[in-house]
């Protein structure tokens, strides 16, 4: 048959070839992942930008005037920066030190580490902050009461910027810890050993070899920390306001409280944060990109071996125990103690006599408690897994591929970090109320919200790990005939697993606390735990809330332990 002209068949052949090329798993996966990241980021961003720059009369900059025009704005920026930089530095130092000690040394009490690093993350911010008020308020703080005979009354004052830095820094340090554990795990100790052999002191090695090698992780941590604390409102609201310390985000709170919410002003503040964050992402990629400097996972076999601390071992052990008591036992004790009382009162014989398990019993009476626990688990596991899978590919696009515009993927993935939760909720409900696919009113809209909110963290964890893995491993796999997908699955994923696992745990844990978008988007039957917390809070049932906090800590601690046990079976093994 000769019906088709040669030209047509040639074109068809070309088209087919083109389709075949496009149809490879690599291309499909890249398109889907880049598309999803872009989609998740652009929906709220578009809503935010539109709300910021346009009102009923067209283009406007009024939001900026309202957001930045407050006479106290100078003070606020000063307080915010002090608070944000302070918290970032504290969490960085604490998180890095703990991670280093844990992964690279033979420090004792390693079992306490995960508790010390994860529990502050699990305790809902409001409970953690109030626990600190009960510990370190100059008027009623238990710590102050305890040291009063020695140092006089009101030695610690939690209602200061330093107090805010302390609470926020400790609350954030798990993010750094998880990032840095992954980074240290993927590091070849032979580099440090060579330095030691050449006569460098331990401190010099740490400063000149270890730290520079983990720079991508450190930059990522600083970036996330600063943005997070610039945005944080819970801690400044509970600790700062008492003495009139206003921060920048109290503006966002005020402008979103009115009706209709002043999206333009909230957007103007978020745009400011966005600009800061994008500069940060760019810098972090420049730092990460400079050659093979950070690629510590190479073709050479290595086993990270713990360094012997020698005579410092007991000292470090003491430091760990002290830290553990300060950040975990203290606040958790306050929660546990409060959860057994009828109302909070300072410890006394009378208080101990009145203790009961009533609050826990009441917890079981809450009609939606089991549904909420189930939903939170499903959403936490679902969003953590989805985000880390997407971001593993996303990180490959950003770090490894040579596709022009790949930086956009990184930038998009960072966008949700600066979008206030309520704005995200409004944007999603706007879109899905109009979508022909019935997503609004189901649990899937919460899943989308969570994936959007936690994408930035997932991306930081994945990109940081990717920077450490040398391309030569992939190249060898490909030379040996593996397809892109095989290489990705069999070589890259296992090597990335410490970072991916860390991100997964982080997302799982914080998703249990997400409230600001959940509360707008949930529907009857899809309640989540954070909504129960909010309800108990609204009810004024602080003691029940404390009981709920204790239960959450236990549930998540078990999950995290299981995850680590499973995680230890894949990827880089330690012994």
């Amino acid at each position: 048959m000769t019906t088709a002209s040669p030209a047509v068949s040639a074109r068809r052949g070309a088209t087919l070839g083109w389709l075949r090329r496009l149809g490879t798993p690599k291309v499909i996966i890249i398109v889907v992942v880049a598309g999803l990241i872009g989609y998740l980021a652009l929906v709220p961003l578009y809503y935010l930008i539109w709300g910021t720059f346009f009102d009923a009369d067209g283009f406007t900059l009024g939001g900026f005037a309202r957001a930045y025009g407050d006479p106290r704005v100078g003070d606020m920026i000063g307080n915010s920066l002090w608070f944000a930089v302070g918290s970032a530095v504290l969490s960085l130092v604490v998180g890095t030190a703990l991670a280093y000690l844990n992964v690279r040394t033979d420090v004792p009490f390693k079992g306490l580490f995960f508790a010390a690093s994860i529990i502050p993350l699990i305790i809902p911010g409001i409970l953690y902050t109030i626990a600190w008020i009960f510990l370190a308020s100059p008027d009623i703080g238990l710590l102050n009461k305890a040291i009063e005979p020695i140092l006089g009354p009101g030695f610690f004052d939690i209602f200061t910027v330093w107090g805010m830095v302390w609470v926020e820094g400790l609350h954030l340090s798990p993010i750094v810890f998880l990032l840095m554990v992954a980074a240290f795990r993927s590091m070849d100790p032979s580099l440090e050993e060579s330095a030691l052999m050449s006569g460098a002191s331990r401190w010099q090695v740490f400063r000149r070899v270890t730290m520079p090698l983990t720079r991508p992780a450190i930059v990522a941590a600083v970036l996330v920390m600063v943005v997070r604390s610039l945005e944080s409102f819970e801690v400044p609201a509970l600790l700062g306001l008492q003495n009139g310390i206003y921060v920048f985000t109290s503006r966002i709170y005020f402008v979103l409280r009115s009706y209709p919410p002043d999206l333009a002003a909230a957007g103007a503040l978020a745009v400011g944060l966005l600009v800061l964050a994008l500069i940060g992402v760019t810098i972090s990629n420049l730092v990460g990109r400079s050659g093979k400097t950070y690629q510590t996972v190479t073709g050479k076999g290595f086993r990270p071996r713990p360094m012997e601390l020698g005579k410092w071992r007991p000292v470090m052990g003491g430091v760990i125990v002290l830290y553990f008591f300060l950040t975990v036992v203290g606040p958790l004790f306050v929660l546990l103690y409060t959860s057994l009382l009828k109302f909070y009162q300072a410890p006394s014989a009378e208080a101990f006599a009145s203790m009961s398990l009533d609050n826990y019993r009441q917890l079981f009476d809450i009609s939606d408690a089991m549904t909420a626990l189930k939903n939170s688990l499903a959403l936490g596991l679902g969003s953590a897994t989805l985000v880390m899978i997407l971001m593993a590919v996303g990180a490959w696009i950003v770090v490894r591929s040579r596709i022009p515009g790949r930086q956009l993927v990184d930038h998009f993935s960072f966008v949700p970090l600066v979008i206030p939760g309520l704005v995200l909720g409004l944007a999603l409900s706007f879109v899905y109320l109009r979508s022909p696919v019935p997503i609004y009113g189901t649990i899937f809209i919460l899943l989308i919200a969570y994936c959007t909110r936690y994408m930035p963290y997932g991306m930081r964890y994945a990109v940081t790990s990717m920077h450490q893995i040398s391309a030569e491993l992939e190249e060898s796999a490909q030379v040996s005939g593996a397809s892109w997908w095989q290489t990705f699955r069999r070589v890259l994923l296992p090597l990335l697993s410490p970072g991916l696992l860390a991100g997964w745990i982080y997302i799982l844990v914080v998703s249990f606390r997400e409230l600001s978008s959940s509360i707008l988007l949930y529907s009857p039957g899809n309640e989540v735990l954070s909504i129960l917390i909010f309800e108990q809070y609204e009810n004024g049932q602080f003691t029940v809330l404390a009981a709920l906090g204790v239960v959450m800590v236990l549930t998540l601690a078990v999950l995290v332990i299981i995850a680590y046990k499973l995680g230890a079976k894949v990827g880089l093994r330690q012994d």
């Binding site: 598309g35 106290r72 609201a237 009139g244 009828k342 109302f343 009145s354 309800e535 108990q536 004024g540």
Partner: protein, 382 residues
Amino acid sequence: MNTAPLSGRRGGGPAKRALVSGSALVLLLSGCGGSPTATAPQAATGGGPSAAEKLYTEVNGMNGQQRRDKLVPLAEKEGALDLYTSMTSDVADAVLKAFEDQFNVTVNLYRAGSETVLQRVVQEQKAGYQGNDVVETNATELFDLNTEGVLANYDGERRRMVPEAGRQQGWTATRMNLFAPSWNTGLVTPEQAPKTWEDLADPKWDGKLAMELSDSDWYLTLYKYWEKQGKTGEEIDKLFDGMARGAKIVKGHTVQGQLLSAGQFSVAASNYSYIVQQAKAKGAPVDYLPFVQPVIARPNGIGLMKTAKHPAAAMLFADWMLQEGQALLAKQGLTPAIVEGDDPLKDVEIIPIDVEELTKNGDEWNKRYDQVISNGEQVDGN
């Protein structure tokens, strides 16, 4: 066959195109739909009265048993009620249980803070989505909802028993939240306790008084009350400045109540009496009685949606809240809107919050209150 122009450079070609087309798709997806924040047409309420409104109009004229007999079979046929509320969960649980026990209607409950409830209803209405039949929340938010034109007219003999301040267009008050000063009885003796609102400005409370971050409605109402009493603006400002001087600013009434019983401060200027009552009932060293008068009341009310999917159930619920529900609310420690029989508050002067002023000039009052409390930090010398 020549595919060279299509394959591009080694490695990156198809992937690059794919990425570009992916982003283009994304831009396209998110680009359509127009302005998300400009006022959208009120899709659901255009044209003549909705089916739900026709039913409301018909039943609004009925009374007593006849009205109940009309609504119950219809409501039970509808079988469900979608309720959005900012009632606290302990109250909501009790209310729902009683309602579901009495009628064969399943209540689907969405519960959030009043601002969130407002946002949710407005978002859904603008998209023409029938999410709820009834909304039960704070006066301010109900007022905004009525301005959006989504609430239907509701009338009946029970509504007419509600005090005038609670009978608003589009909604009807069901209960009151009472603002009153409260104190820690371990730190403040009955003699020292504040007797008037003016007492709070006394320098003896410097560093011992707590004010709440967002109580501008309380501020506005007390301000207007004092104005009516003949105080000048200057005198009033001085009183509030006196309160704010050295005041500890707290976010959230729950936290305020909790810290009050813990002794973090001695007096809370404007907490809800029910929060203090709950703590007191558990034995916490706090009190708010005798009331500092006038007690400032924020009405909470109920509104029927024009777009209700279950209008009979909605109306039955409103009727029931104003009848059987009132006793139930009282049992939960709240202050019902309709006073029947022996009124525990009959000797107490209660003034409702000026909702209309708040809605019209709320932003300005917010700013003024914000100014007042932020002066609390500027304590010098003590």
